[in-house]
Symmetry: C2
Subunit: 295 residues, 2 copies
Amino acid sequence: MSDFAAWSRALQARMESALERAIPTHVAPERLHEAMRYVCLGGGKRIRPMLVFATAEAIDGNLTCAEAAACAVELIHVYSLTHDDLPCMDNDDLRRGKPTCHVAYDEATALLVGDALQALAFQQLARKGLHEEATAQIEMLHLLAHASGSRGMAGGQATDLSSTGHQLDLAELEFMHIHKTGALIRAATLLGGLCGKPLTATQHSALERYSHCVGLAFQVMDDCLDAEADTATLGKTAGKDAACGKATYLTLMPTAEARAYAHTLIDEACAAVSIFDDRAKHLIDIARFVVTRAY
Amino acid sequence: MSDFAAWSRALQARMESALERAIPTHVAPERLHEAMRYVCLGGGKRIRPMLVFATAEAIDGNLTCAEAAACAVELIHVYSLTHDDLPCMDNDDLRRGKPTCHVAYDEATALLVGDALQALAFQQLARKGLHEEATAQIEMLHLLAHASGSRGMAGGQATDLSSTGHQLDLAELEFMHIHKTGALIRAATLLGGLCGKPLTATQHSALERYSHCVGLAFQVMDDCLDAEADTATLGKTAGKDAACGKATYLTLMPTAEARAYAHTLIDEACAAVSIFDDRAKHLIDIARFVVTRAY
């Protein structure tokens, strides 16, 4: 097993245990907590947590702080998936190879699961004494809130909704993705960067550049996989975007060109973090994984 | 106009302006931001913001900090109303005298409005330098996150859902309300208490007692008003709880007894905050308003 495969498996196990501890169990309301565990545990690539840890490593940050930040970002990600799958949004019945939350439970529960997970994300990040510098911790909370809200992920979702069925050009498509997927990938990267001493301006720009490129490449590959892979491999309904008339990279360019574009973005991402030398190892591994993954 | 009427009107105007500034305008995604303004502005009693300010006054706290906390609590409250009104929850089409968000816009937008408002609440409270003591600010963020989540408001909603159509006893009913309505009323009161120097244990207990009693009395009166007032006065559909088979105080006791119970709770609340002397003036006014209001 490669170093990256071992590292990412260990991290997935660490996240599973951290999320398990974060969600209350055997306390009322039990059904809600059970549904929260159902959507959070036992699956997911945990790309965003990987980014938090890899960046924290790059700046010699505190990994306990990184773990809380990784939980927070993943909870936001999972809440957004749970809400996205609802009938009034994407109306999807399969996620991570399992029935979606509103299918396994009911719509009202899926709505409350998402709402409660968002609150839990901020609660994790607001744990007393998480960061030596309380002001840095507040900066982390602000960053995550901004990335999740109307100028970030939720705003990207709204743009996606209103653009379905319309032909977008590349600039419009990237504007949407920079918010919908990119905002949280950027937040994950920068949160890791806040787990230690204050970043220099150069370090901050490098992480901005890296996360911008990785976020876009991730979405390009998602579009390619949605078109090419099968439902069993993806763990979610394949071919859905095209069927719904959603704008994707593949409506703008052939698959080969899209894949080449993703590779260019990843080269740029890797170049940006070369200032961290060897400590950027896992950031580079993650970037490469994003364009080689099969699911 | 009584002093309390003048104070509460000034505070409502201050909140309107603060919420107006908190929600982005003329930036993408414009329709989402418009819908966020639609649900947040131009209405509401602003009871929770009043509690934040009144408590901040009682402890000589910083009122700029109180304003941000009041915005945060109100944003959480409004997001919960927006989600509660959705067809998969209470399926209500009237709120604060206007069509509900999913009626005026659509379900997907109402879902995203709620999601984005929750994020905005934490963003408001994570503003740099809001509190002289960054650790106190983190405590405020943690308090609000806990009160909003599965062990607070969202958990209360889940309990409410699962109890519809069942006969609850008084203890079960109060357990539900302590979470569904009480958690945010408690958070509002304690957030005001965190806007200054650290509270003594006696002050903290007094505010706990006060908010516990006010929260329950608020709900008792809500049940009475839902049964007695008309839709025009309430600005939301009257008689809905009974029609939906929801457990209310009036299924457990006659209206006169419920009103007497609310008054007993309010007397207890007022007694608890007497330790703040004259500075508890508005806390006492709010408590009295809760049992005399007609809407």
